[in-house]
Symmetry: C4
Subunit: 225 residues, 4 copies
Amino acid sequence: MSSMSDAWIRNAVAEAVGAFILVTSTLLVVGAGATPRALTYGLVVVGLVVGLGHVSGGHFNPAITLAMLLDRKIDVLGAAAYWIAQFAGAALGAVTVMLTTDREVVEAGTPRIADAMDVGGAIVLEAIFTFAIVLVVFCSVVDERAPLSAYPFGIGMTVAVGAFATDALTGGALNPAKGFGPAVVSGEWDAVAAWLAGPIIGAALAWAFYRFVIAPPGNTPAFGR
Amino acid sequence: MSSMSDAWIRNAVAEAVGAFILVTSTLLVVGAGATPRALTYGLVVVGLVVGLGHVSGGHFNPAITLAMLLDRKIDVLGAAAYWIAQFAGAALGAVTVMLTTDREVVEAGTPRIADAMDVGGAIVLEAIFTFAIVLVVFCSVVDERAPLSAYPFGIGMTVAVGAFATDALTGGALNPAKGFGPAVVSGEWDAVAAWLAGPIIGAALAWAFYRFVIAPPGNTPAFGR
Amino acid sequence: MSSMSDAWIRNAVAEAVGAFILVTSTLLVVGAGATPRALTYGLVVVGLVVGLGHVSGGHFNPAITLAMLLDRKIDVLGAAAYWIAQFAGAALGAVTVMLTTDREVVEAGTPRIADAMDVGGAIVLEAIFTFAIVLVVFCSVVDERAPLSAYPFGIGMTVAVGAFATDALTGGALNPAKGFGPAVVSGEWDAVAAWLAGPIIGAALAWAFYRFVIAPPGNTPAFGR
Amino acid sequence: MSSMSDAWIRNAVAEAVGAFILVTSTLLVVGAGATPRALTYGLVVVGLVVGLGHVSGGHFNPAITLAMLLDRKIDVLGAAAYWIAQFAGAALGAVTVMLTTDREVVEAGTPRIADAMDVGGAIVLEAIFTFAIVLVVFCSVVDERAPLSAYPFGIGMTVAVGAFATDALTGGALNPAKGFGPAVVSGEWDAVAAWLAGPIIGAALAWAFYRFVIAPPGNTPAFGR
């Protein structure tokens, strides 16, 4: 999407729909326990990237869009459209959950930093696992040496891992839209630093690591297929 | 299947067998808890679509068949044969579970709307997650830009997500046959609006969204493989 | 393997190793609960079929070998070698678990029919889910229209589904070797009819269904990739 | 990597990053229960191998690097660089978990041999499941007959199986770096024989089994795709 085209509206709509499904499903499952929460988050990314990855890129996450902007895979206007779509879709998801079930479900699903954690630690953990997700995105989608057709699973499984690792500590957002949508409805913004700064830092570092360490030519794999 | 051929009988039999296995497995696991229920539902769809997707299309769900009819991938007679096969296979699955275990197992596995939910909300939730499933079906099977060989997982993981999200609220049918089969045996039809109207609405919306928003040419992906 | 060759010994060894890993892992996890049990069984099949499917065919299950014999994909001598290897590998797995942990672990992992079930019902359930597994094997490995590279997951996920569905009722063998190995060590043969007759019946029916209903030409898919 | 090149530094960095993410995620999830622990371990390997398998080979495990050295896929200097990177990344992961959460989390996640197990049994179990992992690595990555794009899942699912099987008995390292990193921080080295000798023995046996039994030509599959 080096230049804006008719396609950008539908791509942005696809991003909004994806963020809507992502937030709706992860909020509705919130009371079921840590394993359903982490699996739902990872598996919804698998499903959405299989379905919409080849349409909009399958970000559904403003941090991934930021990394794509840094890599000039999308321009500033396109990124802005994606961000608006992602935040709007996420907020609509939270509203839908509130209207069909209860506002308490959205409150329970708004990311929250564990009492034993400080904000700095929460930012670090959100950054580490968003770094992992965005690194897998670049290595498996942008990098053409990656195994064909494996990227939706690689990305989704890394999301599940990040969710398992951070669920009890930061609320496991790993995506500013996943924090924003529920926060708009619940009014709980205590963890905003973690779910906003963490993913932004992690995504930027992952892009830099991919572009300056992994991607340069001359990198002969020890083995590969 | 633009014209009816010898193949339609065996395709319908494949749909009946798939619906039979889907209902039998999801009923037998019903007492094991929410995680086994949702995983079984998602994984049986992965297995059946890997096995029978290239035979009958791998619907096992009247709502998916409806969307394929709207898209003229199947004609009215073919769709009717599929519907009969899906409902019959599902009912036979419920009867088999009753005969080998107990009628109470089928009762426990008949979709039921949570006390805190109203019927409208249940229809909305069933519609949202059937929309997600059918959207992934269209985007990954009909859309030729999708990653090769990924569709069974994309579809099955979206089914698991929908099941995780709606299990405690609507009973997580997302498929009229999955509600019908158990209801025939248990006689509990209280949630029929949710598992019948919800999936039908969701599937029709997903088809329209795919056909009029996603599919038109000119849609340049931000990235893709 | 239409004629016996040097390869048959190493193929049989691969089958023994696979059955050994399958039985060892599923026995060691037995105390962890129903979800770990079913996931371990399904995932070990994914791993082993990815690794050894292109070597020996990746059966690790005498019922699958029987179906391949009926389909003349393997001859009687080859099938006999596979059966000996599968039963021997399974028994060695159970012995290894007994020696490294305790005989009680093997007892707990020997298939057992639930008190509420009669033997006939147990045979029916073992037959239904072995039917599903073997049908997916034929449709995804023998049938060349299947999605490429998807067969290990399709087969493994169907095994997991069968294990989730039958774990509490029949002990979820779905494979005579998985019943035999633990029974040799524990001396508990009460469920032998279920784990021997059930899988044999299910595999033979799956072969017949594939060969006479699914495979004949003229079967136009409603859609496919 | 038959000769050392500019690429070896970035490959080693990729190995360090992978080991860091592997240890960080599996330590943070340690309090969540056996199912999250085993799934996180398996899924992080799926994600990392999808992302970095074509870069560094995706070992993140000194035992896999040893097997690749035995197979002359990597030379001694390269292997040494990989080992340093893997152990350093793992230790950094444990330090990060200590700094962001608590030293007790690292202690709880340091592999520990169950009271009922002796050291010999623990070594055997670690060897068996590392054997399974390394066998799947060789059969699905080195062996060109394997199904395309399936190796990250085959490897990761085998890791999950090994983790499910050994979690309660040996702590489920299956990787010397996964034992070393936490032990450096917690100071608990009681299980060092299990997580060091077990994986080394298992990996060497898997290499020998692959190279001398599975790989030689003349091995006709019974079926395959």
